[in-house]
């Protein structure tokens, strides 16, 4: 089958304004969008810029907008799309460096701001820090985050507010806040209780739909909101 890809182009070095280029390719229904981008870069236009690494939905480097919604290019098959005309654009809300490549640094700044690491000042036990399956289940969903930024860059609150930490940062804070081995939950809740913390979330649900790992992002944000209001983690 033939597939037409309309791809967003921007190169700060060639002096041209942002525009779209169109490519028509032969594709199999089981080809991924990433395969088509590779095909274009390999045989049609070597200057096309996009990120990829593992190509199996684990590294999270190829988040782009496919027909208007955030997806991983390596997880969307041609047969998954309703139309044979596909529009490919960079994700919104982060500076565009070149074509589909965006600057992730503002995203990682927000991520780092919520202390996304394990804190426990007690002397380590001789073996591992044990945890019951029930306690682990409490934050299991949010351990799946691969930091692809699909959720944060699908959020209208994140688009308009550079200070808002965004869904991904809250998801990663949730992963440690509800870990009963961690001792810095109150500090993280204090950070997220700030003006540009969880209360910028208006339950729009774009983040949950965009997450390639099916994390219940809005639910995680809701649980953090509730923990802040109640002052306890139940």
């Amino acid at each position: 089958m033939q597939v037409t890809l309309k791809i967003f182009r921007y190169n700060p070095e060639d002096g041209r304004k942002k525009h779209y280029d169109t490519f028509t390719l032969d594709a199999d229904p089981t080809d991924r969008i990433l395969d088509l981008l590779e095909q274009i870069k390999g045989s049609e236009d070597g200057t096309l810029g996009f990120r990829r690494a593992c190509a199996h939905g684990v590294c999270g480097s190829d988040a782009i907008r496919i027909n208007g919604v955030n997806r991983l290019a390596c997880k969307v098959l041609v047969q998954d799309l309703k139309s044979r005309k596909v529009t490919i654009e960079p994700i919104l809300g982060l500076p565009i460096e070149k074509d589909l490549i965006i600057n992730m640094e503002p995203f990682f700044d927000h991520y780092r701001s919520v202390m996304p690491y394990f804190v426990n000042d007690d002397p380590p036990p001789s073996k591992e820090r044990l945890q019951s399956p029930e306690d682990r289940e409490r934050f299991d969903d949010t351990t799946k985050c691969i930091l692809c930024a699909a959720c944060s860059t699908s959020c209208p609150s994140y688009w308009v507010n550079e200070e808002y930490v965004g869904p991904a940062a809250i998801v990663n804070a949730h992963r440690f806040i509800f870990d009963n081995r961690d001792q810095a939950a109150s500090e993280r809740l204090e950070i997220l209780n700030e003006q540009f913390g969880v209360y910028r979330c208006h339950t729009i649900f774009n983040c949950t739909d965009a997450c390639p790992r099916d994390i219940q992002v809005t639910q995680a944000i809701g649980e953090v909101k509730k923990a802040i209001v109640n002052g306890r983690l139940d």
Binding site: Y10, P12, K18, R65, N67, G68, V69, L92, G93, L94, P95, I96, E97, N103, P106, S154, P156, W159, V160, E162, H202, T203, I204, F205, N206, T208, D209, Q216, T218, Q219, G222, E223, K225, K226
Partner: protein, 128 residues
């Protein structure tokens, strides 16, 4: 130089967030509709009662027109029911898994309620 991170209204509106994003947009529009209605009402009352101005009567005719009334009734019902749904999801975050179902329930409440009110309003409007 990298392109700015700013997302314009048109670019944002093109994001295909589906039903939940539409609910959020409608919540904002209905909120604005209610603000416009209340503002016009206050201005009309002030102009008519305090200044005795004919301009107040003109403003009255705007927000008392059948089209504006139909719009504002939708705004009030949607804003109220959708707001109630969001409050419930905020109180019980575990229900957020069922947000699609909650949206369907919301429309099952809004459509008949609004339909009934529209029927009564149009019937009275036609009766003069």
């Amino acid at each position: 130089m990298a392109l700015s991170r700013k997302v314009g209204l048109i670019a944002g509106a093109k994001y295909k967030g589906g039903g939940p994003m539409l609910s959020w947009v409608l919540h904002r529009i209905s909120g604005l509709g209610i603000i416009i209605f209340v503002t016009l009402h206050v201005i009309a009352s002030f102009l008519t009662q305090q200044l005795g101005s004919d301009l107040g009567i003109f403003v009255n005719t705007i927000y008392e027109s059948i089209y504006f009334q139909l719009f504002i009734v939708f705004c009030a019902i949607f804003h109220g029911v959708n707001g109630f749904r969001i409050i419930l999801l905020d109180i019980w975050p575990r229900l957020i898994r069922y947000q699609k179902e909650s949206t369907w329930i919301e429309w099952f409440v809004i459509v008949p309620l609004y339909g009934l009110i529209v029927f009564i309003m149009i019937q009275r409007f036609l009766q003069g």
